[in-house]
Symmetry: C2
Subunit: 292 residues, 2 copies
């Protein structure tokens, strides 16, 4: 099926789902965008903003007519819904998600009924801010959108998912779920843990500071602290699901970081700045090479 002929049901009208709906409607990319949300208020807002053609709070109703279902809630909720929607879906329906981890979701997708066409997805974008009010049709533009088809997934289903990815301006990239999860543990989940570490450490050091009443430490925190700690403001339900479903790769990444930090502390303890320099230079060169 071509995307232009497809009814697309989007479950979850937060930042990701709302932006996806808005991008599809802005491009007039599909036959119909059906929004599914828990709250009527989200549906009416999405209608007012012309993000969806129609909406429902009833998941069964929302997905039963769809040719393509995109699950846009936190990972734990996606897993729960994959456990119930199977019997409600049309034969040949493609089920895509935008969850932050892929192994657990793709395993759950294996258990969908035979006629259903599952494919894991993860667009590499987002903000600390969340919610429909932050959604925008350009959120996905020029971003990588990871696709993880299952062995059972038909080529036509993969093609439809890829057409959607391209329609919203993103770049499809095919990755196995396990490899995806190892990579995001390093580039997304480890930064989160280190940002939390930074904020909670500063809080503790502030408590040890002489005159706590003046909150001097927080008043002085400048842009460097702001950048390094930014992702600590991420949504807790989203991060809790991620930590739970990607535990092993995150643990591995965190232990590597623990060892790196310990190595720097040892050298600092010995006042061996000379030996520290290659570590600092390697990081500087790599970071400057990223150019963003």
């Amino acid at each position: 099926m071509q995307l232009s002929r497809a009814r697309v049901a989007i479950d979850g009208l937060g930042l990701m789902g709302g932006s996806l709906a808005a991008a599809l409607r802005a491009q007039d990319a599909c036959r119909e965008v059906i929004g599914v949300a828990r709250r009527e208020s989200s549906l009416s807002m999405a209608m007012t903003l012309r993000m969806i053609h129609r909406g429902t709070t009833d998941l069964r109703e929302g997905v039963s007519e769809a040719d393509l279902v995109v699950l846009c809630t936190p990972v734990g909720d996606i897993l729960a819904k994959l456990g119930v929607i199977g019997p409600w879906l049309k034969k040949g329906c493609v089920v895509l998600d935008v969850g932050s981890t892929k192994s657990a979701i793709c395993q759950a997708m294996e258990r969908l009924p035979e006629g259903v066409q599952p494919i894991g997805g993860h667009p590499m974008c987002g903000k600390e801010a969340s919610g429909l009010s932050m959604a925008e049709p350009t959120l996905y533009r020029d971003r990588v959108f990871v696709l993880a088809p299952l062995e059972r997934t038909a080529p036509e289903a993969v093609a439809l998912a890829e057409e959607l990815v391209r329609a919203i301006g993103a770049r499809p990239l095919y990755l196995e779920p396990e490899r995806h999860d190892r990579i995001v543990a390093a580039i997304s989940h480890l930064p989160y843990l280190l940002a939390v570490t930074l904020v909670n450490s500063a809080e503790q050091l502030d408590r040890q500071d002489g005159d706590r009443q003046d909150a001097m430490l927080w008043a002085l925190a400048a842009s460097g602290f702001g950048d390094t700690s930014r992702v600590a403001a991420s949504s807790i339900p989203m991060m809790a699901d991620i930590l739970h479903t990607n535990r092993a790769p995150i643990l591995e990444a965190a232990r590597v970081a623990q060892a790196e930090l310990a190595r720097m502390i040892d050298l600092l303890q010995e006042d061996d700045i000379e030996a520290l320099l290659p570590l600092l230079s390697a990081a500087r060169d790599r970071r400057r090479g990223m150019n963003r």
Copy 2:
């Protein structure tokens, strides 16, 4: 002395010194801005950009006529210059610096000749980028500029320094050197160590990744990684001096972070997400409260 009557010598025309010179000239705040730099090319660029009235590569010549000397090089170089400029300074000359750590510098300032008026300074701003070409007169605007007078510093000297701080649009804040150093260890130097930790950990995890040729990990690193790692691109000479001169407070901050990270790893190891949640929520609330 009033700032409007003062000859101000600025040693070091990089990001900080160049921006200071540009801000003083833009406000026509002082009688003369004398630039001191190692390279003629910096002086001619600063002249062309109308940041300084005149320049010299000879530190002695530059500071000998000045009523106010501002040392704007990395901490190690400031310490070296404090050891030599004393005999060259006019009686009553105020010596200010913009170095990132204050205890070592204020101790070195104690050894300046009796007639000289030293005062430590640290504007809470900066960029990863450095150099005169990045300088701008607005760099200090609305930023906190920490001032650390010595016991010996005369009130008129403190007033002149404060007048300069206000003239460039910054907000003066008086702090003892040791307290300043403990605070910046938490809000500036610890973020740097954690950013380096992140980049070097990702590098190591990338090396362990199956197919290293495609540099997939770096291609996928999104804005969260970019923010959290940004300060790892900082200038190494600057950071090496900071690590050396603020070693004890940085070690303390890094050990607190080490313990915070270890605590999260333990809870993750036990898959005790419930017990992790209060740590994540505390960091989220604190970070969202920062609002930048």
